[in-house]
Symmetry: C2
Subunit: 139 residues, 2 copies
């Protein structure tokens, strides 16, 4: 595997294809545009790029499919998103903001930071009544 290097924008499009297919079974240009708050021609252009990269396929005028490599990359991105969202929520960030910020962070963090964040998320927190004082880090 040659590790495709995607722009943040293309990562967003690819991830959204994956999410819409999980949610609706199909990823349509219209829905991608609505979800990412861009216009349909922007989606069409992005899909052309993703096709060139071998990450998606599409019959003309129909829904977008993921190739096996596209599915792999998309799920990696989605996993980062989920991890980062959980992480922010654990810090006390509201869900909506956690989702939005995770969406930006998922494209930029190094493997090392992601790893440490994962360790943190997987560390059970002590009886959290409201304590802002973390005590024991039991693993």
């Amino acid at each position: 595997m040659e590790q495709v290097k995607l722009s943040q924008s293309l990562e967003d499009y690819l991830e959204m294809v994956h999410m819409l297919r999980l949610a609706n079974g199909i990823a349509r240009v219209r829905d991608i545009a609505a979800a990412l708050k861009v216009k349909m021609p922007s989606v069409a252009k992005a899909v052309i790029e993703l096709k060139k990269l071998g990450l998606v396929t599409q019959e003309p005028y129909s829904g977008i499919e993921l190739t096996s490599e596209g599915a792999l990359v998309a799920s990696q991105i989605l996993n980062r998103h989920i991890l980062l969202k959980s992480f922010l929520i654990k810090l006390g960030v509201s869900e909506a903001i956690a989702d939005k910020d995770a969406c930006c962070m998922e494209h930029i963090l190094s493997a090392e930071s992601l790893e440490k964040i994962e360790e943190f998320v997987n560390t059970p927190s002590e009886p959290s009544k409201k304590s802002k004082a973390a005590k024991s880090t039991k693993k």
Copy 2:
């Protein structure tokens, strides 16, 4: 104050002007280019933009100065950088990676997430088993 909305790129340039002035007393195009790993003409262009926005001033062929507003915005960005770097280091990320990742995160996180991260950083941690945590002489 009308809250200038800067691109990530311009935030990086403005922050670097500030850092170089703190470190060397002067921010030169050459040093900004070296620090941000871009070429000098890219810096020149960015400086033109920052001048238009009233954030920096510059005598032709000399160093870049911050306006009072520029200094304010730059120090806000730098403070975010410092916070995020401390945060990553507290999670166990190495200093170099923490610095690099902080540099990306500083442009994207919402006020709410920054606030929660700040709370986390300011929470004393108990003796960690692998204390490779903060101890470093940051520059």
